[in-house]
């Protein structure tokens, strides 16, 4: 229970909340302040949702997983020590939520590693829509059409900036697997974008 006016929720007028820095918000949220946690949510939801959307290629599922990520963050706030930026901690947690969800659905990573299914790209089928310049195809859509494993590594490495050893740790695979998936993603994207 906060004892001072400045530290308590009672004194947190909306102006005060807006001025709070991220660390202040985190500390308040760690004390159970849902208003502070809401501000953390609003500051970070765009990045978390973008990650979930790109990793799942499913807007509805991405919304559910984004909520799950914040729910997990709320329950684990006490374990956040401030060693990394809160947004970094939250982002990593969101990645784990998405990967755990995938595992729970039986789409195990190992099953995806050596798959070379080109079906999502509709290979061999003529398409008038694709008649125009393939280079104009939106990269976002091309990423969404990748197989799960290749898409995950491409998003984590090429967009989010994780290194292969970090991806390997998060996915429970070898560094070589991460590199192989990235290569596969790039090759598939080239086929789509240059079609």
């Amino acid at each position: 229970m906060p004892s001072s006016r400045d530290g308590g929720v009672i004194s947190a007028t909306f102006q005060g909340l807006r001025r709070m820095q991220m660390n202040d918000l985190v500390r308040a949220a760690q004390r159970g302040d849902t208003a502070a946690f809401e501000q953390l949510y609003r500051d970070n939801i765009g990045r978390v949702y973008a990650l979930c959307l790109r990793m799942t290629a499913d807007p509805g599922r991405a919304e559910e997983l984004s909520q799950d990520a914040f729910l997990r963050a709320w329950s684990k706030l006490s374990s956040y020590r401030g060693d990394a930026a809160f947004s970094t901690w939250l982002h990593r947690l969101a990645v784990n939520v998405v990967l755990a969800d995938r595992r729970s659905q039986g789409k195990r990573w190992a099953k995806l590693v050596m798959t070379d299914d080109m079906a999502p790209f509709g290979n061999g089928e003529s398409s008038s829509a694709a008649e125009g310049s393939a280079l104009e195809m939106d990269l976002e859509q091309a990423i969404a059409s990748l197989p799960d494993g290749a898409r995950t590594v491409f998003v984590l490495h090429a967009i989010e900036g994780y290194q292969h050893d970090e991806i390997a740790e998060m996915t429970g695979t070898a560094v070589g697997t991460s590199k192989a998936q990235l290569h596969r993603a790039r090759r598939l994207l080239r086929e789509v974008l240059e079609r």
């Binding site: 208003a35 949702y49 909520q67 729910l71």
Partner: protein, 234 residues
């Protein structure tokens, strides 16, 4: 590819993962191999495009209300705070209406099992405003943007601050459970205020939204007055 260089090697080259001798050898190869040059060109262009992609994407709806319900540790119930509110004047089918509905929906107050709940649900014996700083000088706003609402907001903020100061000065007199309920409800109302402000900024020109915001401020004032009266009578 019609050369001996593996594509994975070009990945490593683009990613800067080759040793210096490997890199130099690859660059010599690129001078004479158009196929590999095109591959490298594509990979660099792909990464440049990926780098330029937005790092943030807004979901199609505000997820906070659902999330808040999932993290709330306290039982909640719907309270019609004196039956007021401009929501009744508005439809809720439009996007703007959804914003308004969201702002209004936030006013779900936390209650406790103890008798203190009655104090915050319209106890007729309580007379908000009597002998306390508060509503005086804060009139009905005529505004449709946050800029226009600002003078009224300053007035509300001043009155709220006075009441918060009074409450804070007396907080020692409150039992922990009551203080917890008060703080929880202030958070609920503050969240509603923030949502209403966001709605006005999202849809400037909608004067009804300013009424929603003003109503939320009044609810906060009224709640604080009740809390102070509770302390006075305890």
């Amino acid at each position: 590819m019609n050369c001996s260089i593996r594509e994975e090697h070009l990945d490593d080259y683009v990613d800067g993962m080759l040793t210096e001798p490997q890199r130099a050898e690859t660059e010599r190869h690129l001078e004479s191999c158009e196929t590999c040059r095109l591959t490298v060109e594509f990979l660099r262009g792909l990464q440049a495009t990926a780098d330029a992609m937005p790092r943030e994407i807004k979901p199609s709806r505000d997820l906070w209300a659902d999330l808040e319900a999932r993290i709330s540790p306290t039982r909640v119930m719907q309270v019609d705070f004196r039956g007021r509110g401009p929501l009744a004047l508005l439809g809720v089918r439009s996007v703007r209406g959804q914003w308004v509905a969201l702002a209004a929906a936030a006013l779900v107050l936390v209650v406790a099992s103890s008798g203190i709940t009655a104090y915050f649900m319209g106890n007729p014996e309580l007379d908000p405003g009597a002998g306390l700083p508060g509503l005086s000088g804060v009139g009905e706003p005529v505004a449709s943007t946050m800029e226009e609402f600002r003078p009224a907001e300053i007035g509300y903020a001043k009155a709220i601050d006075d009441l918060l100061q009074t409450l804070d000065d007396r907080r020692e007199a409150l039992d922990p459970e009551t203080l917890t309920v008060i703080e929880a409800n202030l958070r609920v109302i503050d969240a509603a205020i923030r949502r209403a402000r966001a709605a006005i900024e999202e849809y400037p020109g909608e004067s009804e939204l300013a009424l929603v915001l003003a109503d939320n401020y009044r609810k906060k004032l009224e709640f604080l007055q009740r809390a102070n009266l509770l302390i006075e009578r305890s």
